[in-house]
């Protein structure tokens, strides 16, 4: 089953949020939970990235490429990149995969590939 990362649409004014917040940034009118989850698109453009060599202890890899991607609908998301030679502005396609494992906890997040 394909997994998704969700943005949250305010039921009062329609403003789309990612990540989730409890009060709408645009109208500040909504009550708790007055958001509809909307799956984020998977393709977009790479805004910026870094190759990180000093990783938190639970990553058992020598380096990690991280980036910020502007998705088709204008929402920006931080994710891991599996791209050999990333370049700002390139088109990327995402998939939801396990991005971090802490003991028995698997955290899912967006991983981007060159498209």
């Amino acid at each position: 089953m394909a997994r998704d990362i969700y943005a949250y649409k305010c039921q009062r004014c329609g403003h789309l949020h990612y990540p989730y917040r409890m009060v709408c940034k645009a109208c500040k009118e909504n009550e708790h939970n007055e958001f509809d989850p909307v799956p984020l698109p998977k393709t977009g453009k790479l805004v910026t990235f870094t190759r990180l060599y000093n990783l938190p202890g639970d990553f058992e890899v020598p380096e990690l490429v991280l980036g910020i991607v502007e998705l088709e609908n204008g929402i920006r998301i931080t994710g891991q990149l599996r791209i050999d030679a990333p370049k700002n502005g390139m088109t990327v396609r995402g998939e939801v995969e396990v991005v971090r494992t802490e003991g028995y906890d698997h955290h899912y997040g967006m991983v981007f590939f060159a498209s």
């Binding site: 990612y18 990540p19 989730y20 805004v47 910026t48 990235f49 870094t50 190759r51 990180l52 060599y53 000093n54 990783l55 938190p56 202890g57 639970d58 990553f59 990690l64 991280l66 980036g67 910020i68 920006r76 998301i77 931080t78 994710g79 891991q80 700002n88 991005v99 971090r100 955290h107 997040g109």
Partner: protein
């Protein structure tokens, strides 16, 4: 509101310290009490970020107030990430300005070297957004790396400009006996020579080893008091004239222009506004250079230079110790070190020292107005302070 003055200062060496966290907080407080000529205070604020997580100690303020035999004075710990120090000074300012207290001691301390480098980086990374950043392995250096890449592209900042900040601040640190890094570096050694890739490897590209501040232990203290107390103590009158704070989105990706540091811009404007001053009035500044790019970007956002021109002012030498506006004479976070909870207080320590004219070899001549910018998270919670020497 009443006027608030800095009447006493103290600091530890920033390095790896082998004594308990509560003593790292208490030692500079003892120095500051002696400096001010005081034996008692009305209230104490302890700035710290990691006591519970890194040092397995909670209730730090209660430990410190008793270590100093200052009971029954009130005591609170203040946590605002790497801006905990200036946040605690802000609390002290409000307590004195409101008339609730006459003398408030603000001490900041951190003991991060108790854990290894990976754990320290991981501990600071817990500041990032838990779901939108942290789970991906995002750390503060990685946020700074992504920011730097965009900044270089947009404003033609080069690796040489970044290295120039590192050289300037580490060389300033050589004039500061309390600074963590006591190592002279050159552009040749960290950038131009064939050995530079070994000397200065990438940490979060385009940021390299010498673009990042060290992980330090250390403490710093500033005592704040009412005008009546300050006048009675007879020290030079250094007034904390402006306190400004502002926040921005938790996740960096959400910022409309990811090269803007809006919280810095707003906190600085509020601080200058309260003090009735302009950025052009400042004689000496301590900016939060956890990464070299931040000194350049903050020097623009606080209003010293137009946006995109901070690196040009650096190139012209305006921010060096002998320049028009010396930035980070103490060595900054880069040279003095960055024990997160202590940093904001250490910045204020340096400014008070400079305005008193007691900074020795790194004294900025005739400095009368000083400014600090303490940057929490990756720019999501920023506190700026403006100090004026009155007599």
């Amino acid at each position: 509101m009443r006027e608030v003055y800095a009447v006493g200062i103290g600091i530890t060496t920033f390095t790896r310290l082998e004594y308990p966290l509560s003593e790292i907080a208490a030692y500079p407080a003892m120095m500051a009490l002696r400096d001010a000529g005081l034996k008692d205070v009305d209230h104490l604020y302890v700035a710290n970020m990691g006591a519970g997580r890194v040092n397995h100690q909670t209730g730090l303020a209660s430990a410190v107030v008793d270590t100093l035999s200052l009971s029954p004075a009130g005591a609170d710990a203040i946590e605002n990430g790497p801006a905990s120090g200036a946040s605690a000074i802000k609390q002290g300012f409000m307590a004195v300005a409101s008339g609730m207290h006459d003398v408030v001691l603000v001490t900041g301390a951190e003991r991060m070297r108790e854990v290894n480098n990976l754990e320290a980086t991981e501990f600071v990374a817990t500041l990032t957004h838990p779901l939108a950043e942290y789970i991906y392995g995002v750390t503060l250096p990685s946020l700074a790396g992504m920011f730097t890449r965009l900044y270089m592209e947009k404003y033609e900042v080069t690796a040489r400009h970044l290295a120039m900040v590192a050289v300037k601040n580490q060389n300033n640190a050589l004039l500061n006996e309390y600074a963590h890094i006591q190592q002279e570096i050159t552009l040749e050694g960290i950038l131009d020579s064939p050995e530079s890739m070994t000397n200065n490897p990438y940490v979060a590209d385009p940021l390299r080893f010498f673009d990042c501040c060290p992980v330090s232990d250390g403490g710093a203290c500033v005592i704040l008091a009412s005008e009546e107390v300050a006048t009675r103590l007879g020290k030079p009158l250094i007034r904390l004239a402006g306190v400004g704070q502002a926040t921005d989105t938790h996740a960096v990706q959400e910022r409309e222009d990811p090269t803007d540091l809006l919280a810095v811009r707003r906190a600085a404007a509020r601080s200058f506004g309260m003090a009735g001053l302009e950025p052009a009035n400042v004689d000496v500044a301590e900016l939060h250079d956890a990464f070299t790019i931040l000194e350049i970007a903050e020097s623009e956002e606080v209003g010293f230079f137009p946006k995109g021109e901070g690196h040009l002012a650096l190139e012209r030498g305006e921010t060096s110790l002998t320049g028009k506006l010396p930035i980070n004479p103490s060595g900054g976070l880069k040279g003095r070190g960055h024990p997160v909870g202590a940093t904001g207080v250490a910045q204020a320590y340096e400014i008070v020292l400079q305005l008193r004219g007691e900074a020795g070899q790194r004294q900025v001549p005739e400095a009368r107005i000083g400014f600090t910018c303490n940057f929490g998270g990756f720019g999501n919670n920023v506190v700026c302070l403006t100090f004026i020497r009155e007599n």
